[in-house]
Every structure is written in C-alpha cells, then in structure tokens.
Amino acid sequence: MRIGFRTPLGFFDTVRRDLVRRHPFAAERVGFVLAGATLAGQDIVLLARSYEPVDDGDYLPDPRVGAMLGPDAIRKAMQAALRTGSGLFHIHMHDHAGPPFFSKVDRRESRRFVPSFFNANPKVPHGVLLLSADASRGQVWLSPRAEPQEFAMISWPGRPQRGLLV
C-alpha cells in the first residue's frame, strides 16, 4: 500500500506564508492540516482540506524546542478533525531549499502525539508534514499502534504525483 498526498492549488504557499511569520517568543511556527482520504486501488490518497494555524497564545515558552504547543492548540485541532471527519496532520517548516528531512526531535515528538489524533477520528490516517522552501515530505500513521510510513508523493495541480498506479 502506497500513500499519496494531494493538495489544492496554492495550498502550501498559504501554509508557508503563515509559518514564516515571526512569533512573539517561539522560534518557529507550526500548524495543522485537515485531510480527507480515498482509496485508489490498493493505495491511499490523502487530500488536504484546510490549514488550521495555531493561535499566538497557544504556544508555550520552551527554549529546548523551536515551538512548544499548549494543550489548547492540540485540543482545537482535534476538535476540527472531529467536527469535519478529517485526518489531522501536524505541519512545520525547515528554512532551506531542497528536500526536507525529519530531525530526530521531529521523529521522537511526532511518535508521542500523533497516535492520540486517532481519538478524534479513528477512520482516517493522521500524521505529520514537513515543508522546506520548495519541497515537502510526510509521515502517516495508519493506526495508533503501527509504525509510521514516510511518503514524498505530494502533488498539487501542475505537480505530478509520479504515478501511484499508472
């Protein structure tokens, strides 16, 4: 089973514009993407529905990490996932061009919080997305106990998904 992630026109441009904004004290911004899902043969295609920025007041000061979210940030995102029947994808950005890669901290932290997203909606995959200035990557969980799968097949109108099946 392969995983593809598709977005509407200009979706990541909107996300990048939000993530590059300076926060009063956090070193970086994060957000959440709500996504639907569909099957294409044996493969799963995830479909970006909306971007949910994190309110300034929902960050906590923590010098050990670039952005520490308070409980309200996660709660609001999970409520949005529940309300819309969506998968929830945490998203942040590495400030460079070229393919981004998850850091050790990224991997450790996402293993801690992503499985809880299934409490909001157990029917759809959840995960994390990572942007660079011009590329993207993701990890998806198909169950709260499964190992995440990494995917780079992220497409939008004009950018081929490089043949899921065909």
Binding site: M1, R6, T7, P8, L9, G10, F11, L34, A35, G36, A37, T38, L39, A40, G41, D43, V45, L47, A48, R49, S50, T84, G85, S86, P122, K123, V124, P125, L142, S143, A146, S155, W156, P157, G158, R159, P160, Q161, R162, G163, L164, L165, V166
Partner: protein, 272 residues
Amino acid sequence: MTWLDRQGFLGPNSVNVLTAMTVGVVGLSGGGSPIVQQLAHAGAGGFVAVDHDRATKSNRNRLVGMTPWDGLLRRRKATMAKRLIRRVNPRARVVALPTRWEDATDALLTCDLILGAVDTFKARAELEAFCRAHLIAYCDVGMDVHDLPEGGYLVGGQVALSLPGDLCLWCMGLLTEERLAQEASRYGRAGPAPQVVWTNGLLASMAVNLVMQLFTPWSGLPIRSTCIELDANRSSLGPSHKVRCLEGVVCRHYPLIEAGSPLFDLRALPKH
C-alpha cells in the same frame, strides 16, 4: 539528445515532469483523440484512456487516427487511443479502459489531470464533481453547432480548466441548472450532435496548451481556472469575458472541506 529537445524552453526538468505525469482522457472520439495524440507528441508519460464506445464509420470525419478498417471492425475507441499514443511514444504507460468512466474511477484517481471530452452537461457535471472530490485538475472540452435565427449556423465551443481551490464550471456559467434541465427534457430525442475535426482540433490544441502551462509553466504567469471560448464563425479563440469578471471570486460549489470519500474507513481495510 532526446526526441523532446525542441521543447527545452519548457524548463530543464520538463522531460522528467512530463514523463512522470499521468493524464486521464474521458471520451476518445472527436474531442479526446486529438488530445491524446498531441499529449503523446508532447511527451506525456502516462495515460488513462476511457471510452465505452466503439467506432462507427461516421466517426471518421473527426476521430484522429481512425482508418476505414476501424469502422468496419467497430474497434473500441479506447484501443484506438492506445494505438495512437504508442505509435508516437512506445514507452508511454497506457491504460485503455473500454468502459464508462464511472467504472474506471480507480485508474482515474491515479491521474494528475483529467480531460473530459464528453457529450452532455450531466456527464460534465459528474466528472467535474469527481475531480473536485479528489482534488484533481479537470479540463473540459466541448463543441457545439447552433442554428441561427437569421439562417446559417454558429459553430463554437470552449475549453475550461477547473482547478481545485479555484473557479469551477458552475462558477464559470458553463454548468447551470437550466442547461441540465433542458438537456434532461430532450433526453432520447436529440439526434447525433454535429462535430467536425478542425474545431475539435483547435479546442484540443488549446486544452493541451493549458495542460502544458500547468505542468511546465514556461510563461511565468500564474495558472488559474480559466475558460477559453471558440467562435469558429469569426475564427476567434480567446478568454471568456465572464471568467475575467470573476477575478477574486471564491468557488462555493465544491467546499474543500468535503474532499475525500465520506465512506473511507481505515478499520475496514485489509490488514495494512
């Protein structure tokens, strides 16, 4: 040196982009056949060619690549499309499906863009709704001949690019409840719609132009949903004035929050 060297202005990575792309073409007669032929020449790497119909001799005035034998043998249009593509590019990935598009959705879901050359507004509406639900770009091609009250005919048509997150065919006024109702009331009484190869060719070329601009944006201009109208009587082809007036309008017909299948359930899938 490759066979695509003469289109290097499309960008240094254009050959890879074009080879990677998979294009669905629904309707492979007068509208769809010149599209698959041109996309094959342009280097598109993957095709899902869908048409449930078989060729008859009356298709030969417009179905590109058709021979008299195809009509006599009543060859499937999907098979003929595959032959047309492979003659140009033997390495193209082609899935030819001689079925209705509603039965080809698994293959169409793998496409980066779907071009529809279908006969009815109902089919257009359904195909676009499918594309919007799955965030697939849709390009619609349609040609029509109308009687003029003062005598003679008006030959026209349009190519509409409908991008998820931007204007749709309903926003552009190509689909209206009135048109669908009129079509439904004529159901079964309409004769064969007039079609000719040269106007279909113009519209197909414009559709391929939009596809190439979307995937290999050589102009640097932002790509948006658009509608290009053909007035064959005046030999004119240009952007729809109506769409120009819709600058800044947000599509309300297909909320992005509804993308995906409402029936999708991970727990019902085989063990992953």
